[in-house]
């Protein structure tokens, strides 16, 4: 069942990702991004990372994506405004991307991972464990991240204002 779920959600995320690239309309790209984010969140569920999945949904889909759509609305005049790259650029980019995908995939498939790559661990960290790790082992990054968020909040508010 998990395998089937993986294939379904992987297909959803991949197709949506392709949709992001293929769509010339930026709002449609953003909607496709919702598909990818949702698909990846479902993959987290499949991987037993429940906390991460809901964080992905609440922060990415509920927060960042709304912010992006907001940004799109503030910066474009009609739903149909789109900028396209030239054919040459697109061809080059596609070539590079294909090379990159093939290269990384080959690397991944040929690499020898330290443990058995096909036997998932039975125990996944629970929410409580992740929380405890955040407040013990990773306390400094956690606090730094909170300061960073504060700085970003102030910085974003400052930057978005027009100069007086």
């Amino acid at each position: 069942m998990d395998d089937l779920a993986f294939y379904i959600f992987a297909a959803v995320s991949l197709l949506s990702a392709i949709g992001i690239v293929a769509s010339s309309n930026i709002v449609r790209s953003a909607v496709c991004l919702l598909g990818t984010l949702g698909g990846v969140a479902c993959l987290y569920f499949v991987l037993d990372a429940n906390l991460l999945a809901v964080i992905q949904l609440i922060v990415y889909a509920g927060g960042t994506l709304v912010l992006m759509v907001f940004g799109i609305m503030l910066t474009s005049k009609s739903p149909w405004v789109g900028f396209r790259a030239t054919r040459g650029q697109v061809a080059g980019a596609v070539l590079v991307a294909i090379l990159m995908a093939v290269g990384i995939s080959t690397l991944v498939l040929t690499a020898e991972w330290s443990q058995s790559a096909n036997a998932p661990l039975k125990t996944s960290p629970s929410v409580a464990e992740v929380g405890e790790m955040l407040l013990t082992d990773y306390l400094v990054p956690f606090e730094v991240a909170s300061v960073l968020l504060l700085v970003v909040m102030i910085g974003a508010a400052y930057l978005a204002r027009t100069e007086k």
Partner: protein, 402 residues
């Protein structure tokens, strides 16, 4: 990499800093101005008013009212029919206060022809009763729809519940519930039905405590006060400059009521107050003041009707309709006469040329004059405030467009 769309964006870019009232408005975010058509089909424009809003986000920079969607040549028709036949057309001007419109035109014509002195006392009191009942009905609609504009739906139904009783009273007297043509040249078309006085005073007993209910429900509601106080302030001077009349003028603190200062229809025999806006919740002349003046006027109308019902007791048997009303010929003269309508001063200019049909009829509608202040008040307000301001002006488009 230039595309057409980009060029359009570049060219049509208005200046971000808009100069208004001599003050520079700085905007936090780069935004674009948008022209929005509010109306003619919009729930908050009370009919077919169309307001073109120039907005920056939620901020309304400019609001230009466009009128004429309900134009029916009412004034021109006045030149083709006799005054007696013109009465039904006045009903359809301010369709929420038909009685008052009838009264205005009837009084103007009576003054012109000198019929004024021959109207019986009973007819006068009946006219006053119906004009004031209609004032209550009209203010009830204003109160209810103002609640709707602010987003409270329930007061509307309460207002209409009471209005139904008034309409029942009207129906019993003249058979119509909206376009009455009851007050006519030479008096009123028919005498009061049986038991009208008792029923009417019972209605007043029932209605008076309801005003308190409205105040509890809406007037002093925190959200309502927050939405209306200090919004759309019109100072007394501005109100006079713009020629505003009625509750809109009195809301700005100017104690001017034609029933007091130039009493028509023997209003001078009655005792009543003229409520004015005092800025209880905010500044004098804000939306809340205009609103509360209407509520208080309903109470005063109740007072007037009570007295009129008292005075009516000794007048049984008097003729309520003067025979000459239908057959008058207008002298070669003109007249302009104003009365106090629920919405303000309703004036009729009638010019005769010796025939039965007037040479010219012109109406000065209070809603029309009050509407002109929109442009001034709806600047630098939020979109939601536009609904609140238009609602507080209480315009009736039938009368604006005529």
């Amino acid at each position: 990499m230039k595309t057409d769309a980009v060029d359009i964006v570049l060219e049509s870019q208005p200046d971000i800093n808009v100069e208004l009232n001599g003050s520079q408005i700085q905007h936090d975010l780069p935004t674009e101005e948008m022209l929005v058509n509010m109306g003619p089909q919009h729930p908050a424009t009370h009919g077919v008013l169309r307001i073109v809003l120039r907005t920056d986000g939620e901020m309304v920079l400019e609001a230009v009212p466009h009128i004429g969607y309900l134009h029916r040549c009412a004034e021109k028709i006045g030149e083709t029919v006799a005054p007696y036949q013109y009465i039904p057309y006045t009903d359809r001007m301010d369709y929420l206060a038909g009685m008052n419109n009838n009264l205005g035109f009837a009084l103007a014509v009576e003054k012109l022809t000198g019929l004024e002195q021959e109207i019986s006392k009973r007819a006068t009191y009946i006219r006053i009763i119906f004009a004031e009942l209609n004032r209550i009905a009209s203010h009830l609609v204003a109160f209810g729809t103002y609640g709707l504009d602010i987003g409270a739906i329930t007061p509307f139904l309460y207002a209409f519940r009471e209005r139904e009783y008034i309409l029942d009273l009207f129906e019993s007297a003249c058979g119509a519930r909206l376009t009455y043509s009851y007050i006519t040249i030479g008096g009123v078309t028919d005498d009061l039905p049986d038991k009208f006085v008792e029923i009417c005073s019972e209605f007043l007993d029932y209605f008076e405590p309801k005003v308190k209910e409205y105040n509890n429900l809406l007037s002093h509601n925190h959200i309502f006060v927050k939405r209306t106080a200090d919004i759309g302030v019109i100072t007394g001077e501005e109100a006079l400059d713009y020629g505003l009349t009625g509750p809109v003028l009195r809301g700005s603190g100017v104690r001017w009521d034609l029933r007091k200062v130039r009493p028509h229809c023997s209003y001078d025999e009655f005792e009543f107050d003229v409520p004015v806006g005092q800025g209880l919740k905010g500044t004098v002349g804000d939306c809340w003041d205009r609103y509360i003046v209407r509520i208080q006027e309903m109470e005063q109308s109740v007072k007037i009707i009570r007295q009129a019902l008292e005075k009516l007791r000794g007048t049984e048997g008097q003729d309520v309709l003067h025979k000459k009303g239908k057959t008058i010929k207008l002298p070669d003269d003109d007249i302009y006469f104003e009365i106090e309508n629920p919405r303000g001063q309703l004036g009729f200019y009638v010019q005769g040329n010796g025939a039965a049909i007037p040479a010219r009829v012109k109406a000065r509608g209070p809603s029309f004059c009050n509407l002109c202040v929109t442009d001034k008040v709806c600047r630098d307000v939020l979109l939601a405030d536009v609904a609140a301001i238009i609602g507080s002006l209480d315009v009736v488009m039938g009368e604006v467009d005529r």
